[in-house]
């Protein structure tokens, strides 16, 4: 296992380095940030002064060399827009995204597994049809529409919940509910499909023949074997959330990393873009390693 982890970590590091090179040069292709930071009436001298202050006058290879030199000392540079260390700006935002992703994925996983398993056990029944109907709607409905409609109904119409923000427990309900819908629909369908296949296997029939009750058959014997494809999809969905739920963060005013990344791209705040990509990439690498470990835990045939 240790050798496997070392190998994965090394491969991740190579990928990360490739990502840094790619993003550094691609982001520079988007243009000179000077025009965005200074008023349109700013003089040529002011523009030149701005470029000089932020090292934008140097050849791109010099800028890259300086960036890499700083990076190996864990200096991610300063945010042009915020005049603060880029890594601090990113980590502040990433904490919000991490909380949002963790809570949402925990709820999604539990709900999708329970409901998907029951639906698979009663395949073709009323419960299965209702679960399938709503999960397909959930998996295909656009986030921004659900978010705005939920504010109109629950905040403006009924007055039950705040429209947006982060102050209290109540503020988390709508964003989590909106984020919940799409992965829930998707994962429920995967759980259902995988369970349908597992429940028709010989060992489940044997368990039934031996007189075991439904609950242990579904949740003890069948579920563990049906979980491998489910975990893969959960990993994909969690990675998407870790990259930032841009729409939800924007509408509900959540100061997460997705919105930060989009804003920073639009504002040509290159150091923040790079720091955000590296932080999320590291988080996703870590999560993928955890998923690999989980495979081995669930299926003893898998050994690294």
């Amino acid at each position: 296992m240790t050798a496997f982890l070392q190998k994965r970590a090394f491969a991740s590091l190579i990928s990360l380095m490739g990502l840094v090179v790619l993003v550094f040069f691609l982001s520079r292709l988007t243009g000179d940030p000077t025009t965005l930071y200074l008023p349109v009436d700013a003089s040529l001298e002011s523009r030149e002064q701005f470029r000089e202050l932020h090292g934008l006058n140097d050849p791109i290879l010099v800028q890259f060399g300086r960036y890499v030199g700083d990076l190996v000392q864990f200096d991610f540079g300063m945010s042009i827009r915020r005049s603060a260390p880029a890594i601090d700006v990113v980590l502040q935002a990433f904490v919000w995204t991490l909380q949002l992703a963790l809570i949402t994925m925990t709820l999604v996983t539990v709900a999708a597994i329970v409901i998907g398993s029951i639906a698979a056990f009663h395949i073709g029944g009323v419960f299965d049809r209702i679960a399938t109907f709503f999960s397909l709607i959930g998996a295909s409905a656009p986030d921004f529409w659900i978010a705005i409609i939920s504010i109109v109904i629950f905040s403006v119409g009924l007055g039950w919940l705040p429209t947006s923000g982060t102050g209290t427990v109540w503020h988390w309900i709508l964003p989590i509910a909106v984020l919940f819908i799409r992965p829930f629909g998707l994962i429920l369908q995967v759980v259902r499909g995988s369970m349908v296949s597992t429940l028709s296997s010989a060992y489940v029939k044997t368990a039934r023949a031996k007189g075991l009750r439904n609950k242990p058959i579904i949740f003890v014997h069948a579920l563990r074997n049906a979980m491998l494809p489910v975990i893969t999809v959960i990993g994909d969905q969690a990675a998407a959330l870790l990259n930032g739920a841009v729409v939800v963060e924007t509408i509900f005013g959540f100061p997460g990393v997705g919105k930060l990344m989009i804003d920073s791209i639009l504002q040509r705040d290159f150091t923040v873009v790079l720091a955000a990509i590296m932080v999320t990439a590291v988080a996703i690498f870590v999560m993928n390693i955890l998923i690999d470990i989980l495979y081995a835990v669930l299926d003893p045939r898998i050994r690294y």
Partner: protein, 500 residues
């Protein structure tokens, strides 16, 4: 603890934690973006200004709509000649950190704002191309000299925010200190900024005792927050969200939309072609359809609230037939009117900008122009709008929106129309001379000279295609006694807000 007790406790905690609705003397303002900086020298940016300008940091003078230039930290000023103005400063003023305000603070603030250690937006926007030097006469008197001389230096000082002399010159501050009626209490990044009333303020104590600024980029959410009472003011909401007659206000937002014409390249160097462009646009068709009701048709670069605005001018009436006739006349004289002209628009510049640009393109094409529309995001668009222009460009018109809430055309005309103006598409000696004359004049003479310049640009030189003076929308909670004005586009003075 059993489950029931635990649930009860949780429910109670959640009720207690319900979002606090606005308190009696506190207001919540919802802004469209989080502030990246809170330094007073950056407060010419709209949302920074709405928090900092005249709330935390005050200016030396103040331009008040309808009243003209008023004292703020300076009580009076006089022209000493040779480009020098003497400012007499208010006595008994203290900064939020307890230090006394004096002329050294003004000198330091000017040096910091116009210096080269940091790029302050106020310095870059209002003081480019001039050198300011200061001479402290005594604690309450300072001479400020501009080179070249600026007859409107007192007006320019309405943009200059004052910070203590101890403020670092090489970095932006994260906790602004000023002399204003509110102190900067805390900034929870990503969440809110809190201000509270300054008990030691030199002026009257304001009715609003504290303010909480929150940030939501979606206009519908900002409007909903005021609707539900979570916020009191949303200074900037979209036209489609301004649906509540009791809460929504429209106001001239000091922005003028126009098409900057490049006079350097045929066929746009022909005045008949430029006149035909103006006649080809049905301006009235936009108002109340894809642009808000209340949008004014423009005849000049600055809004009606600026001095010298020429009310005698009327916009070019929509007359595509006359436009075609002018093009035919120019063609008969050898002007290549069939050449493709590129109309360059800026994405996201204002609500429905794409629809506006598409409609304009169709109108030009209907009048016989070979017009092509290209939309660019701001950084690319800026390459077309500001000098140096590309050498190999073809004939171009650039759509732009220009803001002048300062009450004087000098903030606009040099940049937009002088031969050396950064965004000028024209080089006309007469315009240069008229700008210089108007800039050097004062009082009624100044007003008359600006008026003449507006007339020359619109009627004789037909320099650009002026389109609209825009309106903005704010939603204000019903418990407040506050009506947005043209200044709401760049500042939001909490001290001017009271409760019903």
């Amino acid at each position: 603890m059993n489950l029931k007790a635990c649930l009860k406790g949780t429910a109670l905690a959640m009720v207690v934690a319900l979002p606090a609705m606005a308190q009696d003397n506190a207001v919540t303002v919802v802004l469209s973006e989080e502030l990246d900086l809170v330094d007073p020298c950056m407060s010419s940016r709209s949302n920074i200004g709405r928090v900092v300008l005249q709330n935390i940091a005050e200016t030396i003078t103040e331009m008040v709509p309808g009243q003209g230039l008023q004292p703020r930290l300076a009580t009076e000023w006089e022209d000493m000649g040779g480009g020098t103005w003497r400012f007499h400063l208010r006595d008994g003023v203290t900064f939020h950190d307890g230090s006394a305000f004096d002329a050294e603070d003004v000198a330091h603030s000017i040096a910091r704002t116009t210096g080269d250690k940091i790029v302050c937006e106020i310095g870059a926007k209002y003081f480019g191309g001039m050198e300011l030097t200061t001479n402290v006469v005594d604690a309450n008197t300072i001479d400020i000299t501009a080179d070249p001389a600026q007859p409107i230096l007192p007006l320019l000082m309405s943009t200059m925010t004052v910070v203590p002399a101890e403020t670092a010159v090489d970095s932006f501050v994260s906790t602004p200190v000023g002399t204003g009626p509110y102190t900067f209490d805390e900034y929870n990044v990503g969440q809110n900024i809190k201000l509270s009333a300054n008990p030691n303020y030199w002026g009257d104590q304001p009715a609003v005792q504290s303010a909480n600024y929150v940030f939501r980029s979606d206009s519908a959410v900002r409007a909903a927050m005021v609707q539900t009472g979570e916020a009191d003011i949303a200074p900037n909401i979209a036209l489609q969200d301004a649906t509540n007659d009791a809460m929504d206000y429209s106001y001239p937002n000091s922005e003028t939309v126009y098409l900057r014409v490049d006079h350097n390249i045929a066929p746009l160097n022909d005045v008949r072609v430029r006149k035909a462009l103006n006649l080809a646009v049905d301006r009235e068709a936009f108002v109340g359809t894809i642009l808000a009701n209340g949008t004014l048709l423009a005849t000049g670069m600055t809004p009606p609230s600026t001095i010298g605005y020429n009310t005698d001018l009327t916009h070019y009436a929509y007359d595509p037939e006359q436009a075609k006739a002018l093009l035919a006349e120019a063609k008969a004289d050898g002007v290549d009117v069939d050449q493709e002209i590129t109309l360059i628009g800026r994405t996201g510049n204002f609500g429905n900008v794409l629809e506006t640009m598409e409609a304009l393109t169709a109108m030009f094409q209907d009048a016989g122009f070979n017009m092509k529309l290209e939309m660019y995001e701001v950084a690319e668009w800026e390459n077309f709008y500001s000098k140096p222009f590309a050498e190999d460009r073809g004939p171009q018109m650039v759509q732009a929106q220009h803001d002048n809430a300062n009450g004087d055309p000098v903030f606009s005309m040099y940049f937009k129309y002088a031969c050396d103006g950064l965004q000028s598409g024209v080089c006309d000696e007469k315009i240069d001379s008229m700008i210089a004359d108007a800039t050097a004049s004062v009082g009624a003479e100044r007003e008359a000279k600006w008026k003449d310049l507006f007339a020359y640009i619109h009627e004789e030189n037909v320099t650009d295609v002026f389109l609209f003076h825009m309106v903005g929308f704010s939603r204000v909670g019903e418990r407040l006694d506050f009506e947005p004005t043209i200044k709401t586009n760049s500042e939001l003075q909490l001290a001017q807000i009271s409760f019903k």
